[in-house]
């Protein structure tokens, strides 16, 4: 399994590296985003600093946006790769090999995950230049929430991929989750500012719990104090992962029945 996952990762990394301009623009866009936030943060008063876990607005927003990148990267990594394989025409050749669906799903996410980690490092690096404090980070909590974030998001990405295999264009899971996250997950403002019923929606999103945990890690909160968020994410991943693989398998079966595996 691992050599195949590595093979898929290497392929995706090589393909990404061939698009040099896009590769370079990623870093420029991160730098521009952080600089923009630094100036925007001057407009925000410290009135809600408590609900931001003691972080300044700049720190709050940079951390959230950085880790939203990880979430979205993991969410659409598999879907993007499979969609590319549809368009390149390589999907039938891949499915002709003795590669299991789970290897394909996980392998297709790895590049996005690694790339997102590098992007996070850039966000944090640029953020540090503008006042993001890194001295209190709890590395165990941070690592745990990165892993839990991936574990809870991969199944959602696999659901999204299943849709792409059947419907080709359009990924409603990604669309809904990424748009919901902007409003409900507390990316640009604390969830505590939302009305009560909206906070219930917020609670149902994995991103809310991931961002809670990650912000906690940046302020030195140990994992034991964030066990509620951690348990929530672990439970979601345990429940959703087999369901997602079954859905993916069903989608491939459907495409095989309709003869649409090579369609795009």
């Amino acid at each position: 399994m691992i050599p195949k996952v590595i093979a898929i990762f290497v392929r995706d990394a090589r393909l990404a590296a061939t698009y040099k301009l896009q590769f370079a623009l990623n870093w420029v866009s991160i730098a521009a985003g952080v600089i923009g936030l630094a100036f925007m943060a001057r407009l925000v008063s410290g009135a809600h600093q408590r609900s931001m876990g003691g972080l300044s607005y700049f720190e709050y927003a940079v951390i959230n946006i950085a880790f939203l990148t990880l979430e979205l990267g993991t969410l659409d990594g598999c879907e993007k790769v499979v969609r590319n394989d549809q368009v390149y025409g390589t999907l039938p050749s891949i499915l002709s090999t003795p590669t299991s669906m789970s290897v394909l799903a996980i392998g297709s996410t790895v590049w996005s995950f690694v790339f997102a980690l590098v992007q996070i490092a850039c966000y944090i690096g640029f953020g540090a230049l503008f006042g993001l404090h890194l001295t209190h980070i709890d590395p165990v909590t941070l690592a745990a929430f990165i892993l839990l974030s991936v574990a809870a998001t991969i199944p959602l990405g696999v659901f999204s991929t299943a849709m792409v295999i059947v419907f080709k264009q359009g990924a409603p899971v990604k669309f809904v989750l990424s748009n919901l996250a902007t409003i409900f997950a507390g990316v640009l403002f604390p969830v505590a500012l939302l009305p009560g019923w909206m906070q219930h929606v917020s609670w149902m999103l994995p991103m809310t719990h991931v961002l809670n945990g990650v912000r906690g890690a940046f302020t030195g909160v140990p994992i034991t104090h964030l066990s509620y968020d951690a348990m929530w994410l672990a439970a979601v991943s345990v429940v959703l992962f087999p369901l997602a693989l079954l859905t993916f398998r069903a989608a491939v079966s459907r495409a095989k029945f309709d003869g649409s595996l090579s369609h795009y």
Partner: protein
């Protein structure tokens, strides 16, 4: 130019066999959303393959010959497991085509698929990177994979071009790389969809020799899908002629010719005029008459429905006006005529 041939002639283990029984396949007529809605998720389908059965013995090269759209590639994709039949069973090397999990992976391990689709590689990667990637997915790694890449690249004469980006390859080179990929794992079963499509004549000849050698010397079982009559005739042990999703006949090339044999004759006459041609055409049981003017006399090529009796009547008719019959001999049937008569006789 000679492509490398498999040099280590091995006595194969039990060659893999293929059995296809009563397979039918339908496809949606279209995939648009409105049709899908109108028919509540069950859009009308058309029948691409209709109750097809055949078997391929281990170590046999079996040809699927037919017009574009006859259903050849659909049969191949069903054999490879990329398309699921609506009805019927497919068994490759004892494994059912509709298997899932480990059995399905085992099946895919035993099949090498050469697609006719040019878009089946990563354009921005080199040929070597492409082969390595697909080799990895087939469970090959490290030096064993490198050695295998080298061998299959030699088979298709691409060894010195492996580090070029796939996008710089010509159509023929892409096709040759697809053959190389199919051979990466040295699979016992080869599914070859128009393997010489777009390939230049010299390489096409060498690829045919390679395919034949893989079957004869290594005991591989191969299904070859082709539009090229001469390719099917030259390579295949047996040919299935397909038209409109049905198998019209399955036979050895020689048997197909023999079925049509004994019915075509060449008759040389010292002269012939229009009236005589009309009398000849009026002979019952004559399906075709071709008149060829020669420097000394006329040559008639005639296709007869029932052989000798019609021939006797024809000779009587043409020799009645003092025309002398110089020579009568049976003609070897033309494979094209044999194929055309089978394909056009198929129900639409």
């Amino acid at each position: 130019m000679n492509l490398a041939q498999p040099s280590d002639v091995r006595t194969p283990a039990t060659p893999a066999s293929i059995a296809v029984e009563g397979v039918t396949k339908t496809f949606p007529k279209n995939h648009d959303f409105m049709t899908w809605l109108r028919y509540r998720g069950r859009p009308p389908r058309f029948r691409a393959i209709d109750d097809v059965s055949f078997s391929v013995a281990g170590g046999e090269l079996f040809g699927l010959l037919g017009e574009n759209g006859a259903g050849k590639s659909t049969i191949l994709t069903m054999l490879s497991g990329l398309t699921t039949p609506d009805a019927g069973t497919i068994r490759v090397d004892g494994i059912t085509g509709s298997s899932s999990g480990g059995a399905a992976r085992e099946l895919r391990q035993r099949i090498g698929m050469c697609t006719a689709e040019e878009r089946s590689f990563y354009y921005r990667l080199s040929a070597r990177e492409n082969l390595r990637f697909f080799g990895n997915l087939c469970g090959l790694h490290g030096s064993a994979l490198d050695a295998r890449v080298d061998i299959v690249a030699r088979y298709v004469d691409l060894r010195d071009k492996l580090d070029r980006n796939f996008e710089t390859y010509s159509s023929g080179m892409r096709q040759r790389l697809a053959i190389a990929r199919a051979l990466l794992t040295d699979p016992p079963v080869l599914l070859l969809d128009e393997p010489t499509r777009a390939v230049d004549p010299v390489h096409a000849r060498d690829i045919r020799a390679l395919i034949r050698s893989l079957v004869v010397n290594e005991g591989k079982t191969a299904v070859l899908c082709t539009n090229l009559l001469e390719e099917a005739w030259e390579l295949c042990d047996r040919i299935a002629v397909i038209a409109a999703g049905k198998i019209i006949t399955v036979a050895k090339p020689a048997e197909l010719l023999a079925r049509a044999g004994g019915r075509r004759y060449a008759v040389s006459l010292d002269r012939m005029d229009d009236a005589l041609v009309e009398r000849a055409r009026a002979v019952a049981g004559l399906s075709r008459l071709i008149v060829e003017e020669k420097p000394r006399g006329v040559r008639l090529v005639v296709d007869l429905d029932d052989g000798p009796r019609t021939l006797t009547n024809l000779l009587r008719a043409v020799s009645a006006n003092g025309v002398s019959v110089d020579h009568v001999a049976p003609e070897e049937p033309d494979p094209f005529a044999v194929y055309a008569s089978l394909a056009t006789a198929a129900p639409s």
